[in-house]
Symmetry: C2
Subunit: 194 residues, 2 copies
Amino acid sequence: MPDFREPISRGAGARQRVLQAALQVLHDDGPPGFTMEAVARRAGASKATLYRHWSTSGALMVDAMDATFQPFPVPDTGRVETDVAQLLNAFVAVLEHTPFPRLLAAFMDAAERDPALAELHADLTRRRREPVLAVLTRARDRGQLSAELDLELVTDLLTAPFFYHRFVAHRPIPPGLVDHVIAHVLATGHKSAE
Amino acid sequence: MPDFREPISRGAGARQRVLQAALQVLHDDGPPGFTMEAVARRAGASKATLYRHWSTSGALMVDAMDATFQPFPVPDTGRVETDVAQLLNAFVAVLEHTPFPRLLAAFMDAAERDPALAELHADLTRRRREPVLAVLTRARDRGQLSAELDLELVTDLLTAPFFYHRFVAHRPIPPGLVDHVIAHVLATGHKSAE
């Protein structure tokens, strides 16, 4: 469930309803239609209730995005490729079988127009990257990956192709992509261009 | 300049004006405000003129996106890393110093809601990938890269991190990222996890 960062004064039920309503408004109307008023109407709540929890519609939008999927648990199969594959396959399932990508596309557009929203989403992205970073860091500590690897860069290379396929190339994600990306990014085995 | 795919019946000037107006409307109002009527008004042209060139507002939007930057020429420095670096640095400059990213964000949102638009943008993306693919293919033909490499995958890995930084992580692109991505994706030099 979402990682609520404020105490819930009126019970999780009411807050959940507002977040659900926020996602519906973002999904149906996109960022231009996303106002505190529209969400309050959809949730059957007062604007005052919304403002008690969220100071801006941008903060509400980020919390609603946060609620779209749980951070994945950190797997530990003993093999770093298998751990990363579990995380990436779980993410591909979210891209393919939930409303998340449509919401994220709306959100990316809104963030281009509002730097405060971009900053909030940067935090959210950092939290979502953490399981991949944790798996890579552990493998490095165990000597399975080179100590010289830049793990932030490796995390970029492992995750970015899935966003790219969906939002830029508009191509379906082929069944082998997770394994091919991992094999290329984590393994040697091809000639250097030197 | 844009790769116009239809004969221009009333002179390039008029068509250019419409494309420019289309970009302004997309930039200012986003996809919800992007209609043939709004673009015609901004261009000072009739809707009939627009429909002579474009059958739908989606087709016009794609041509306008196509006009935002020229396909890059294919460099040939003799060293594949340098060739790829030239292409990626040129793309980073487009991301950092032009209205393109804001337009692309609006476009990605619109494409999630309209499969025809996604298909048109898939074609545009394929054409924009071609210089990178050409450089990699030539390096493979010259024996500088392994014959077993999946060059489509390598192109994904080389380009996706820049979209990811801008649109998902909302982080500035650090000066060394182009070189680090190329070094990791095209080189060996780190331990396998096996």
